[in-house]
Amino acid sequence: MLSVAVFLPLFGALVLLFVPEAQRRAVRAIALVFLSLSALAVLLIAIGFHAGQGLQFVEDVPWMPALHVNYFLAVDGLSLVMLGLTALLGLIAAIAAHGITERTKLFFILFLLLQTALLGIFCAEDLILFMFFFDVMLIPMYFMIGIWGSGRREYSAVKFLIYTIIGSVVMLIGILALYFHTGQQTFSIPELARLVASRRLPVVWEDWIFLAIVAGFLIKLGIVPLHTWLPDAYVDAPIPASLILAGVMSKVGAYGLLRVSQYLLPSAAQHFAALLAVLGVITIVYGALAATAQHDFKKLVAFSSVSHMGFVLLGIAAGTQLAITGAIFEMVSHGLVVGMLFLLVGVIYERTHTRELSRFGGMYASLGSGGGILGFAAMANLGLPALSGFIGEFFVLAGAFTVFRTEVFWAILGIVLIAGYNLWMLQKILMGPEREEWKGLPAINGRELVTLVPLMALCVLLGLFPNSIIHVLHLPVQQLVAHLGGQ
């Protein structure tokens, strides 16, 4: 079942190879069908999932027996949540890819490939398989930014590629060092986790291995000072790609931290917890400040994204049940919110062909309900209670408070700044006298609403009933916390 969910998009990509380029509608329809099928498979997995059990839907077959590498897919609560997010955002991004009118076939082939890689990452339980998916996703994303992007797209695309490759190779070194130093001849994450208790690694080694692995994840997560690829890539990518980048791909870094580095190297994780927490806080404040100073709508969203990932890192570093649960919740929530924001960037850009905040103004009326949705998104982004973002940030900081009090107080500064730039953005775009040049813009249309409304609805639902996903997170987080030796 898992393999079906993961590889359906790839299969779709293969089918697309044989569809003529000119049949743009057919191409899009086929892509959507396969993405929906894959999402359906994820839904079925979610239905069949038992929150009280560990890894489920296990598929574990030898892949490279000579290297002790297995094709090992399974889901636990954390995986399930991320799979759901990926499937949903994939579908939405594909709908939002309506504006891709050139080389459509190539775009959807790459998109489907990317979706397979992302789904694969979130259920790979073998480290090499994980790395495999982790790197595969680079290539389609490179092309999506490079071919359909805007601005300095070539620069951004290659920067993204180089940054991530260096991170992933360093991570690979770390993973291999871990493998050799455990001496157990397995890359299976649950197996390695079981070995953690016996603490076989020399401390110095564990620290180095930890740093190597974490470096790759921090790059992916866009943590200051390893973030510079991120604003460029987010801004120059086409909207569907930005959505996937910010909504799903950046979460891969956090997922990796939870699944690999913190889980398998708990004592090093404790050594470096303070460092990670400080980096998290720096990211929060730095990202928020940088976002405040942006004049480009999309860049603002990009830096906002950086800032939010700081919360995730802080939560993960804190290592308490509350904080980690909050961090995971924040990952999901940020996926939804940043999705909305990038979609709205697209909605506005499509109408005005500019992203300069100073050129907007008074657009509340002209966007139809789009203005309200933008307001909603901004409020969700600033962490308004009753929306999902609040729950994540609240529990991250509540959980981190016992461990990193000073850091939490700094993070609070970030919260104020986050409110600042979001409000400022709303003020610039929606309010003030209506500009002559934007009068009579077409209101938000049905297709755009189809992409936005599910995200809004989920944002509200998760904000009001967070337990709906938190209850499946209980077990994996508890295991992780137990490994870390915390509360």
């Binding site: 920067k159 180089i162 200051v224 000072p225 973030h227 510079t228 690829w229 604003p231 730095y286 400040l289 940088a290 405040t292 100073a293 942006q294 049940q321 509350l322 649960t325 008074g362 509340y364 307001g375 409020m379 308004l384 209670p385 009753a386 609040f390 609240f394 529990f395 900081l397 509540a398 408070f401 016992t402 939490v408 107080f409 609070i412 919260i415 104020v416 700044l417 409110a419 600042g420 409000l423 400022w424 709303l426 003020q427 929606l430 309010m431 003030g432 006298p433 209506e434 009933f465 967070p466 337990n467 938190i470 209850h471 209980h474 987080v477 508890q478 916390v481 509360q487």
Partner: protein, 613 residues
């Protein structure tokens, strides 16, 4: 009925949802549903109050969230504090909604207005009955959101937009303090339940400094929301919103919810007496400062806004010095009625004359009898003239301050009371009496329709009579057995006399067209006048802080662009430069290649001999 208290916030919430989904189709008719819902809510709210007064109480809690070993239930509680506040909120909101039907009639965004108002009321009521910090905070932020949305209701005006942003941001500063307080408490008590916090904190035997810090962090929320110094700067700007909003959110309910929070968490503050002193001082200073600024305002809504800040200061002062939340709470309730009334009456005037400048009004008494009379009732209550309600609610606060070991608080308080009476007299005289200063405005003026005046009358009743009839009952209901500290007869005399003196001074200066005297007085007191006109320069301070933040943001953005990015690009360029150097090795000459080869062999041989052996 008390067990069904959740229905009270649910009613306006339902109205909100109706507005959002079918508001556009129903046009202005949608608002009637909201008014009816609020009417029902009022009936229910008052019923619950009556039942609670009869001894009923309720606490309902359902599981909501489970994270590890922490469970976070959601629930509501009906106790005297919430029952009283809920009844007040429902009634005031209902009146204001009715009034708004008239006031906002024909506004192009009528539906949005009502939607937001209903959401706000739902939030406010939720906050009032919330039994835990988390739900309370959610509701509290929803209120903040609605406040924001309603301040920029007329969003096309940039200054409204700025005011809204400012309001949200400044209160946000307080909110994060509150959040930190909540987290701190949670880290000790593992609970958000109001009822469990103080005992658990007590049991944890924290250092007094820590307790004070916790209490002050929690208090930071009310400082923002209830516009206490130094975060008061947002409230006057918030008058950019429609006047019913000023009445509802920025006078009667939301701004008071900060005080309500202090009342709700009073047991925590009682553990931290140090914090209570802070609260008392902040309240007293706020009360005095805002009153002084109100004296020089010419915009009728601004006068009321500053008076709101000032009165909120009194409530906080009461919280700080009275040893019980009952004094502050009573002032909250009575203030809600008379300030709501004042704003609505002011709205009625603005509706009629289409200006907020008192200098362009005058003599309106003749044209708008109902409005004028109700406004004056409110003004008298605000000024603290017996037997109006304000006197009965303010007096216990001031006498408690007099009884406290901090005389400065008392003096600030009574001086503020004097100023209050003065500026309200000034406002009444400028608006309703004397010769019309702007003939055009005067001729245009007319009494508002009944849909607006009836709520005025309804609110005027409690504004006038609540103190006289309910003060004692209120105290015994909220805090049975509590004996208010008495400041002695001298203090009582001062509290009574200074407001009267204020009226007198006001009448002397503004009665009977003594313009020349006024101008002379202003000239004589020029520095003071400017100081007050500039609102004690708090706005400039805030602006300066904002510019500093923006400057830092700009620096960070530039740093990111040129330094961080520069380093990365520089590393890339470095690889490129290295490549440029190494490529010159391959200069095309075969012999040079051979030479390189042999040199490399030679170097290798020497190295092997030296190190490798």
């Amino acid at each position: 009925m008390v067990g069904y208290a959740w229905i009270v916030p649910a009613l306006p919430l339902a109205a909100y949802i109706l507005h959002v989904f079918v508001g556009r189709r129903l046009k202005e008719r949608a608002a009637y549903f909201g008014v009816v819902a609020m009417g029902l809510a009022s009936v229910l709210g008052v019923t619950i109050l009556v039942q609670a007064a009869g001894g009923a109480s309720a606490h309902v809690s359902v599981p909501w969230l489970q994270i590890g070993r922490y469970s976070v239930p959601m629930g509501f509680t009906v106790d005297p504090l919430s029952a009283v506040t809920m009844a007040m909120v429902t009634v005031v909101s209902w009146m204001i909604e009715i009034y708004s039907l008239g006031y906002m009639h024909n506004d192009p965004d009528f539906n949005r207005f009502f939607a937001n108002v209903n959401l706000f009321v739902a939030g406010m009521l939720t906050a009032v009955i919330a039994d835990n910090f988390l739900l309370f905070f959610m509701a509290w932020e929803i209120m903040g959101l609605c406040s924001y949305l309603l301040i920029c209701h007329w969003y096309r005006d940039s200054s409204n937009a700025r005011a809204a942003t400012k309001a949200f941001l400044v209160t946000r500063i307080g909110d994060v303090g509150l959040l930190a307080g909540i987290w701190w408490i949670f880290s000790i008590t593992h609970s958000f339940q109001f009822s469990q916090l103080a005992p658990a904190l007590h049991a944890a035997a924290l250092a007094p400094a820590a307790l004070t810090a916790i209490a002050l962090l929690v208090f930071l929320g009310p400082v923002g929301k209830s516009a206490q110094i130094p975060l008061q700067i947002w409230l006057p700007d918030a008058m950019a919103g429609p006047t019913p909003i000023s009445a509802l959110i920025h006078a009667a309910t939301m701004v008071a919810v900060g005080v309500y929070l202090v009342a709700r968490t009073y047991p925590i503050f009682q553990l931290a007496p140090g914090a209570l002193v802070w609260i008392g001082y902040i309240g007293a200073i706020t009360a005095f400062m805002a009153a002084s600024i109100a004296c020089v305002q010419t915009d009728i809504k601004k006068v009321l806004a500053y008076s709101t800040i000032s009165q909120l200061g009194y409530m906080m002062l009461g919280m700080g010095v009275a040893g019980s939340m009952v004094a502050g709470m009573f002032h909250l309730i009575s203030h809600a009625f008379f300030k709501g009334l004042l704003f609505l009456a002011a709205g009625s005037i603005i509706h009629a004359v289409e200006t907020q400048e008192m200098h362009r009004m005058g003599g309106l008494f003749r044209k708008m009898k109902a409005t004028s009379i109700t406004f004056i009732i409110g003004a008298l209550a605000l000024a603290g003239i017996p037997p109006f309600s304000g006197y009965f609610s303010k007096d216990p606060i001031l006498s408690a301050a007099a009884a406290s070991p901090y005389p400065l608080m008392f003096w600030l308080g009574v001086l503020g009371a004097f100023l209050t009476a003065y500026y309200m007299t000034r406002a009444c005289l400028l608006t309703f009496f004397g010769k019309p200063r702007d003939q055009h405005v005067y001729e245009h003026a007319h009494e508002s329709p009944a849909v607006m005046t009836v709520p005025l009358w309804v609110l005027a009743v409690p504004a006038a009579l609540l103190g006289l009839f309910a003060a004692g009952a209120f105290r015994s209901f909220l805090a049975p057995g509590y004996v208010p500290p008495s400041g002695g007869p001298a203090a009582s005399a001062l509290t009574l006399a200074l407001p009267l003196l204020g009226v007198l001074v006001g009448a002397l200066i503004y009665g009977g067209g003594r313009t020349a005297f006024r101008v002379a007085a202003i000239r004589a007191l020029r520095p003071l006048y400017v100081f007050l006109k500039q609102k004690w320069y708090f706005d400039q301070l805030g602006l300066a802080l904002m510019y500093i933040a923006l400057g830092v943001a700009w620096i960070v953005a530039a740093f990111d662009r040129y330094v961080v990015d520069g380093i990365v690009n520089g590393l890339g360029a470095l690889a490129g430069l290295l490549g440029r150097a190494t490529r010159t090795l391959a200069d095309g000459s075969a012999q040079a290649y051979m030479l390189t080869l042999l040199l490399a062999v030679a170097v290798g041989l020497i190295a092997l001999q030296l190190i490798g052996g």
